[in-house]
């Protein structure tokens, strides 16, 4: 059976693909975090008022996904309890050793940012509720109930500063994931300095698309009208970042093909035989080209809000799927070519196993459950349900 999965000459230690679907999921989830955070920064830092209805919701989305971002890596480890060692004794010559610190720093920023932007609501709830709710909200308010105008103004100023630090840290968190792949010089499919920025752009794209979908879903569930101005503004940013994303992704492929170094034969085989469908079909056509056209039409069509809503929803679904395919093509594709450059391998996902599809599905569903819990404690609906001015 192994013979059918292998073509050409491969090294003995390559016959098993080590980085499975969980390692595909890890950059996908961190990407969604970075994207959602940057979407919220459009309001918090750049003052784009039309994004306001989803700005705080985006922060909660980022937190929910951030809390599970390390899970795929921990489940992938044979000895998850040793994962913390990377923080206790980080080996500074390895890019991987920065993960714990970068992750913790970013988590602190996101938590602080959420706390500051929800503090007024938290204090109001603490003062108006009783029993365990009073205790919960008072603890969240750190037993400091000052919501005078001056205090709130200071909070806002500080939150803005945090968001300014937050953008480079979100970019760093995700760019760093790309750097880990881009820094593997033995693998021609990964080794490119463009990798961090490609990862970052696709992260922003997937984060905004997810935010759009969650916003539409939340409004449908809560039976409230959608703020089309906000939605179309998000769609507009999605379209802009999509252009940057596709430019970089194509630039990488085109320069690889044009330079035609000694690895081009195996890259061509990878693109035609191994990941042809997921790369050209899902990542480029479904994930970029179709949403690009649909979103372009959204900005051209006047009125017809329902049609635009459908077009934006479909684009977002396609983008979210397309970015997953991109992560798959990078992580799995890179391992399907042998380091001999004259052979290919095949990754066959299994369902029930520690590295299987089932744990990946569970990990992917978790952030939505966390989001449900977090939004019930800190409801962001007030912003969304205000009448658009």
């Amino acid at each position: 059976m192994l013979e059918n999965l292998i073509w050409g000459y491969v090294y003995p230690n390559e016959s098993e693909i080590q980085w499975s679907i969980l390692i595909v999921l890890y950059p996908y989830i961190t990407g969604l975090v970075a994207g959602a955070f940057i979407a919220s920064s459009l309001y918090h830092v750049f003052g784009k008022k039309e994004i306001k209805p989803v700005a705080r919701f985006a922060l909660l989305t980022a937190l929910s996904f951030l809390l599970v971002a390390m899970l795929p890596l921990l489940v992938h480890l044979g000895r998850p309890e040793r994962g913390i060692e990377i923080m206790f004794t980080p080996h500074l010559t390895s890019a991987m050793s920065g993960f714990g610190y970068i992750f913790s720093f970013y988590l602190t920023i996101v938590v602080l940012e959420i706390w500051l932007s929800f503090r007024e609501d938290i204090v109001n709830k603490a003062l108006s509720s009783h029993g365990w709710k009073e205790l919960l909200y008072s603890s969240l308010a750190l037993f400091s109930f000052d919501i005078s105008e001056k205090a709130l103004h200071d909070d806002e100023k500080f939150a803005r500063k945090l968001a300014i630090i937050g953008i480079p840290s979100a970019a760093f968190l995700h760019g760093y994931v790309g750097f880990i792949f881009g820094g593997i010089k033995a693998n021609p499919w990964w080794s490119t300095p463009l990798m961090p920025i490609i990862f970052l752009m696709s992260a922003i794209v997937s984060g905004i698309a997810l935010l759009i979908l969650l916003y539409i879903a939340a409004m449908k569930i809560r039976k409230h009208v959608i703020d089309h101005k906000c939605l179309q503004s998000l769609a507009h940013y999605l379209w802009i970042f999509l252009i940057l994303d596709v430019t970089l992704e194509l630039l990488e492929i085109v320069s690889m093909k044009y330079a035609s170094r000694e690895d081009i034969d195996i890259i061509n085989r990878l693109l035609s035989d191994k990941i042809g469908f997921t790369f050209y079909g899902v990542q480029l056509t479904l994930g970029i080209f179709i949403p690009f056209v649909l979103l372009l039409m959204v900005s051209l069509i006047k009125n017809r809000e329902t049609l635009k809503l459908y077009m934006i929803s479909i684009s977002s679904i396609f983008v979210v799927i397309g970015v997953f395919a991109m992560r798959w093509n990078v992580v799995i594709g890179g391992q399907e070519i042998s380091k001999s450059l004259s052979g290919t391998l095949t990754y066959v996902p299994v369902f029930y196993s520690q590295e299987g599809i089932l744990p990946a599905l569970i990990i992917f569903i978790l952030p939505f459950i966390i989001l449900l819990v977090v939004t019930s404690i800190l409801p962001p609906w007030k912003d969304m349900e205000e009448e658009p001015s």
Binding site: V10, P12, S15, F88, L112, R119, L142
Partner: protein, 149 residues
Amino acid sequence: MQPHLKRAFTILALIIIAFIFVRSLVVPESFGQYGWYRGDSVKELRNLTVNYAGSISCGEENCHENIYTVWVKDRHKTVNCETCHSPAQKHVLNAREPLTPADDSRDYCGKCHFKRISRPETFPQIDPEAHGEDLRCVYCHNPHKPWFD
């Protein structure tokens, strides 16, 4: 600074201090003594009991000299005695200590000789389903002198 911000930063500082404290407890003292590992592990590894005696000790003292001379000249000379016959240090020190019998199953030979695409073509490999009719390999092949002419 507003009091609530002071509290938030105090909590953050406490978390960082707790991390540094836990780290100081968890990371062994000898970590980094020689390199990026626990220095004491060198001492511990040195004090581990020796289990393997090495193939030469089997041929010494006229114990297994005959089979040793056959083996040492043949194709399996790179596969040490203890690879199949189990670790022998106790047996070398005290001949009454028996060895675990060698594993002569098809699967054991197959660890090296079942066909794998990653093995060099010239390396002797068999398709276990097509070769040997499920007989144990040693039925036809002498593991000490495996080569057929």
